[in-house]
């Protein structure tokens, strides 16, 4: 632990803080999520630390509950994209041949449509619920994970030590889990951080467009949408989620950067 640079420490601290807030939201929030407790857009006060929102709910409570929703959806989507993407990516790399071709060309096709546009097309015909959101986001994003996992695994499968394992007579499972996975883990974990950030931004964007989490459920993108009219009157309530999203994203980024640097220095540290 003593080798962790300061930037990564800060990143880890804030990431942990946000996750803990999400988990213990009901204990931390001073008011209920949808409880109207004051006037419209009251400024920050001792009673309402961040003021109130467009219909008089406590903004801090909504931010805490909103963070819970946003982080939960992003985490679930990231897990789906990771499990799907890396399993298929490894499979394609190890099997090669037509399995690889079919999977890779299909992913090319999906990736030739911008992710947001694809999501909008799908959401125009699907009911907008949290499970649907998670699935759509996770599956669309798994194409990127697939590409990375496949590329990393292809680089590893051509290594002589994998050939040595094959010549020894090892089974495919051994090759994937004992030879490839330990060497692919660091870049994948770093990528997981980036995918998580992307998922946070993505679900916020969808909610902002009114196509994500539906009211009265709170999430950070939705809070912006609810309070955006205030901007024109100089009420900054809509900017509060900006701060939250940015700090969370930057913290995760710092951690991911550190994980990635650790990998590259391992690779380059032979001479």
């Amino acid at each position: 632990m003593k080798n962790i640079p300061v930037s990564a420490m800060i990143g880890l601290f804030f990431t942990a803080l946000y996750f803990l807030m999400a988990i213990f939201a009901p204990l931390l929030a001073p008011y209920g999520m949808a409880e109207v407790v004051g006037g419209v857009w009251e400024p920050s006060s001792e009673q309402f630390l961040l003021g109130t929102d467009s219909i008089g709910r406590d903004l801090l409570s909504r931010m805490i509950y909103g963070g819970r929703t946003t982080i939960f959806i992003a985490t679930a989507a990231t897990l789906i994209s990771f499990v799907t993407g890396s399993i298929l990516g490894f499979l394609a790399a190890v099997s090669g041949g037509w399995i690889d071709q079919a999977l890779s060309r299909f992913v090319d096709l999906i990736m030739s449509i911008p992710t947001l546009i694809f999501a909008l097309v799908v959401l125009s015909v699907m009911p907008v619920t949290v499970p649907v959101l998670i699935l759509v986001m996770g599956l669309l994003d798994s194409t990127r994970v697939y590409r990375l996992a496949r590329a990393v695994a292809v680089d590893i499968t051509v290594m002589d030590y994998v050939e040595a394992a094959r010549l020894r007579g090892e089974k495919t499972a051994w090759i994937i889990f004992r030879e490839i996975l330990p060497n692919a883990l660091s870049p994948l974990v770093a990528e997981m951080g980036l995918r998580f950030i992307f998922a946070v931004l993505f679900v916020s964007t969808l909610s902002f467009l009114g196509l994500g989490v539906q009211p009265p459920q709170a999430d950070w993108g939705g809070i912006v949408k609810e309070n955006k009219e205030g901007i024109v009157y100089g009420i900054p309530a809509a900017l509060v989620p900006a701060f939250a999203i940015a700090t969370l994203a930057i913290s995760v980024n710092l951690v991911a950067d550190w994980v990635l640097n650790r990998t590259t220095s391992l690779k380059g540290g032979r001479g």
């Binding site: 030739s112 911008p114 916020s204 900006a242 994203a249």
Partner: protein
């Protein structure tokens, strides 16, 4: 030369094939729709007869394949179908909006591309010194904030607090260029910020990659000045990667436009698309989705075509 033509033809054919497959994928959306389009138009209270009539009228009773080809045939002739919600021709509605969107994207690109390349060069020139670190810190931050929030932050500070530019980017045909530019100043700023970070980082990486080649060392060991090394030896090899970076980011910009138009209530394609997604107006969503995908695929194709054309191994075969 023939090898290059063959590669170009292959690349263009691939794009067309992709576009065709994308159209199938987008069309398949209607088939998985729970309930049906007729019901959405007429609402829950519609009589079964009215539903049946509308279904026949819309051709919903035909097999999916027939419907797909009818739809595709229409698109190829410029007929994008009719919007369910308004009953108007989609092509007419899209016409001016597409123009507006390109107008916005064009000015954003005009600002962002030279700026990003300049900053990228600056970051390379002062690599690992404070300008590079500052630029990378700023880009890290801007990558971490969603587009719409950058939009509101700028709107709050520049438009509402400082009162410099209008917070809503309404434009119409009656305005002259100056008025239009004033109206879109904020969205252009936001879009620039959104793509700048990516484009700059990628430009920096592309140039660094070229600068680390052995032939750059050769040029340095010939006693050329730093400027000559870049102009004569780095630049010809950096064109393709930089064009690639620019195209990828323009493609990214096209998507960014969707959200920014909603923020600034700009009458473009993006807002039109988002509106109709909430209204579940499937034909409009399909048409817009296809157009966005076509632009995206086209830009990616241009990037590949440029890198084929600038590759010395292909231009001067053995």
């Amino acid at each position: 030369m023939s090898q290059i033509l063959k590669l170009l033809a292959q690349r263009i054919a691939l794009s067309l094939l992709l576009l065709f497959l994308v159209s199938i994928l987008i069309f398949a959306g209607t088939i998985i729709l729970p309930g049906d389009v007729a019901q959405s138009i007429l609402g829950q209270s519609a009589t079964p007869e009215a539903l049946a009539n509308l279904r026949a009228e819309l051709g919903l009773n035909d097999p999916p394949l027939t419907r797909y080809f009818a739809w595709l045939g229409g698109i190829l002739q410029g007929d994008l179908g009719t919007a369910l919600t308004s009953g108007q021709s989609i092509a007419d509605a899209i016409g001016t909006r597409l123009g507006n969107t390109f107008f916005l994207a064009f000015w954003a690109a005009l600002v962002a591309v030279p700026l990003a390349i300049f900053l990228g060069l600056l970051a390379v020139r002062y690599r690992d010194r404070w300008p590079d670190k500052l630029i990378s810190a700023v880009t890290l931050t801007s990558i971490s904030i969603p587009e719409f929030l950058i939009g509101y932050v700028l709107m709050y500070f520049i438009s509402v607090r400082l009162g410099w530019f209008p917070s809503v980017a309404m434009i119409n045909d009656g305005m002259n260029l100056g008025q239009k530019l004033n109206a879109i100043a904020l969205p252009v700023m936001v879009l620039t910020l959104v793509v700048l970070a990516h484009m700059m980082r990628m430009t920096r990486a592309a140039i660094l990659n070229v600068m680390q080649s052995a032939y750059i060392e050769t040029a340095e060991l010939k006693g050329l000045s730093g400027f000559d090394v870049i102009r004569k030896h780095a630049f010809p090899n950096a064109i393709a990667p930089i064009v690639n970076v620019v195209m990828l980011n323009l493609a990214y910009l096209v998507v960014g436009v969707v959200v920014i138009e909603v923020v600034f209530v700009y009458p473009g394609m993006g807002q039109y698309l988002v509106d109709h997604v909430s209204k579940r107006d499937v034909p409009v969503v399909q048409a817009c989705g296809l157009i966005f995908a076509a632009v995206y695929i086209g830009l990616n194709m241009i990037a590949d075509v440029v890198s084929i054309l600038t590759n010395p191994r292909l231009r001067h075969p053995k």
